[in-house]
């Protein structure tokens, strides 16, 4: 129930712009004296139950007639050329918007906290104004384009523009550098991948060749097809169905293990001092033999004692 309290009016005259319009103030009931409450009850204004005081909703001055009158008095009907003002909605959104979002043209849809959206709205409004105004300006023969040789004082000094330019250039170089670095990293990764693939392919080929050679050595195949390369891979005609069961050869499991792990090999008796091993000079490294190996592999005595003549010379000198 709203009680029009005389003490509250005095507060409203204060220039306090931000007063809560509806407050429940139990503490302020003490301001109303008991006598007043009794009077109000006698008059039938108070109802039984909990009575709380609520402020009158704050009335904001809004005299529409006063505003219109003031505008009528104040208005100066200048020709458009003097004012150069235009009222318009934003121009069409030319930017590609992400999927699902329609270009927001009405103001009610703009979220004022979304900076990009808001600024684009203002930008498009300005654009629409410019597009509308240019033909009008041409009609009134007001120039908008500055000729190239017209030099005059600008709102921002040249120094300021230089600062802006250097900052923009710096930003651009940073972006370019990061882009280049990213590309290099990608290239390196790609190159590494390619290198690994090539090496693996080579290993596979070598393995296949070696196993083919060993097969021939062990007598499993009597054809030297592997020397010709991979020409005859496809189109091997199947043996007769009658002999198929007999000509299966080793088990498929055995075959797979042979292919993967090789054919085993001789366990012992690999190192003998025979004529062949004596004549085999494949383990000879010329550089190491002649002492031209990588320096630092074998460090000689650092503190080498100089020879007799050198020692004599040193002694004679001192």
């Amino acid at each position: 129930m709203i009680i029009d309290n005389p003490t509250m009016d005095a507060e409203e005259e204060h220039p306090e712009p931000g007063q809560d319009s509806e407050e429940e103030e139990d503490e302020e009931q003490s301001e109303l004296s008991d006598g007043e409450l009794q009077e109000a009850f006698a008059r039938g204004l108070l109802k039984p139950g909990m009575n709380v005081m609520i402020d009158k909703p704050k009335k904001c001055a809004n005299s529409q007639e006063g505003l219109k009158q003031c505008l009528a008095d104040f208005r100066r009907d200048l020709p458009w050329v003097e004012r150069l003002d235009l009222t318009n909605l934003p121009a069409e959104n030319v930017l590609v918007t992400p999927e699902g979002k329609e270009p927001k043209t009405t103001k009610a849809e703009i979220n004022p906290d979304n900076d990009f959206e808001r600024e684009m709205f203002f930008y498009r409004q300005a654009q629409a104004t410019v597009l509308q105004a240019l033909p009008l300006l041409n009609k009134h023969s007001i120039a908008t384009k500055r000729p190239d040789d017209y030099f005059a004082e600008m709102a921002k000094s040249d120094q300021q523009m230089q600062k802006i330019r250097t900052k923009l250039i710096a930003k651009q170089t940073i972006i370019e550098r990061s882009e280049k670095a990213k590309q290099l990293r990608e290239q390196r990764k790609f190159g590494k991948k390619v290198q690994i693939e090539v090496m693996q392919k080579r290993q596979k080929e070598k393995k296949a060749m070696m196993s083919a050679v060993k097969k021939y050595q062990k007598g499993m195949t009597d054809k030297l097809d592997f020397l010709e390369g991979d020409k005859k891979k496809a189109g091997k005609d199947n043996p007769d169905p009658k002999k198929a069961t007999q000509k299966r050869g080793p088990n498929s499991k055995r075959k797979f293990k042979d292919q993967k792990f090789g054919f085993g090999g001789k366990k012992s008796g690999t190192k003998w001092n025979t004529k062949e091993s004596f004549n085999d000079v494949s383990g000879f490294r010329a550089k190491v033999a002649h002492g031209k190996g990588p320096k630092g592999a074998k460090r000689g005595n650092k503190n080498k004692r100089p020879g007799k003549t050198v020692r004599k010379k040193m002694k004679n000198r001192s």
Binding site: R83, T87, A126, A128, T129, M154, Q160
Partner: protein, 341 residues
């Protein structure tokens, strides 16, 4: 300031406000003249081709206690508006209607007065000086011309295009504000300090019950724009019928004074802390209060399902042993031989 009586069309005599610049200059749309004697060339002041009739002068000044950003904003506005005049800072002790007298002394009919409270909040008064309406705003989000993100530039004193939101025509108070802005911010034609080209546009938009001000440079004829600055946001407080006084015509109910705003933030923070404390106290109480021993398990008979009683069976003989016959697998070698065969 005595308006200099310049001879129209006389380019030989150097006008009073000639600027000495080091590069080749050109007058507006007339033949270029270079002084062969001196290396410096005089850039003649823009000669008005017509008569300046719209005598609009704006007084821009502030009270004491404004910070650097406000000062720079004022300077920027003075650069953008060639029809503006500056004045010294006003003492805060004087009442606001003194400003009317200052305006009259300076022969200005509009006024932009910046007032700072608590060195934090900036209020802007825009008023039409002798009798007209005035409005008070709270200024927020100020960015000046000097910010490096504002990359555009315009001629000093060129005339701006003004762009308004359609919302300005819908409400009477916005219509009044629109008229006030037009008269204040548009540079009069043929003003002696103005430049004849129109190369920037000022936009006023109403978003979120506030007026957003932006300044863009027109680069191309196809309306590609770059922001010059400054930019600020005006939050309307009140509109008065007189200049710096008079009956209130309009009050903005969405306006919340910065003090109240800060107070609300503080209250919210305080409420959060208080709530946390209460929760902590409750937990403490719970922990220290006497706990009763639970002797009976309330959930003991949750899973009891009534079922039929089965007769107890006693087996007298042991269960029979199941014989599992193992499949005899042939040895591996034999298997291989068999497979080969």
């Amino acid at each position: 300031m005595a308006s200099s009586k310049r001879k129209r069309g006389a380019q030989g005599s150097a006008p009073k406000k000639a600027k000495k610049v080091k590069f080749v200059s050109n007058e507006d749309e007339t033949s270029s003249e270079i002084n062969p004697e001196t290396h410096e060339v005089t850039v003649p002041a823009p000669v008005s081709r017509g008569k300046w009739t719209n005598k609009e002068r704006v007084l821009i000044f502030s009270s004491r206690g404004v910070n650097f950003r406000t000062r720079h904003l004022m300077q920027d506005l003075r650069t953008l508006m060639p029809h503006s005049k500056a004045d010294t800072k006003m003492d805060r002790k004087d009442k606001l209607f003194v400003i009317n007298e200052v305006c009259e002394m300076k022969n200005c009919n509009k006024c932009l007065f910046f007032e700072a409270k608590k060195k934090q909040d900036l209020y802007l008064w825009i008023s039409n000086s002798p009798h007209g309406p005035s409005a008070k705003f709270l200024v927020q989000n100020i960015h000046t011309l000097a910010e490096l993100k504002m990359t555009g530039n315009c001629l000093k004193g060129s005339r701006p295009l003004l762009s308004f939101d359609p919302t300005f025509d819908k409400e009477p108070h916005y219509a009044l504000l629109k008229e006030l802005f037009i008269q204040t911010f548009s540079t009069p034609r043929y003003h002696p300090k103005s430049q004849p080209f129109v190369d920037h546009v000022l936009t006023f938009t109403i978003v979120d019950n506030r007026i957003w001000f932006r300044n863009y440079q027109i680069i191309e004829e196809d309306a590609s724009l770059v922001e010059i600055g400054p930019r600020f946001v005006l939050n309307l407080i009140k509109i008065f019928q007189g200049s710096f006084g008079g009956p209130t015509l309009f009050e903005n109910e969405h306006f919340q004074s910065p003090n109240m705003h800060r107070r609300q933030l503080r209250l919210a923070a305080a409420a959060k802390v208080r709530e946390k404390q209460m929760v902590k106290e409750l937990q403490k109480m719970k922990r220290t209060e006497a706990k009763e021993d639970v002797t009976k398990d309330v959930t003991a008979d949750v899973f009891l399902t009534p079922a039929d009683e089965k007769p107890v069976q006693i087996e007298t003989e042991p269960p029979q042993v199941k014989v599992v016959k193992k499949k005899h697998k042939v040895f591996k070698r034999q298997r291989m031989q068999m497979a080969r065969r």
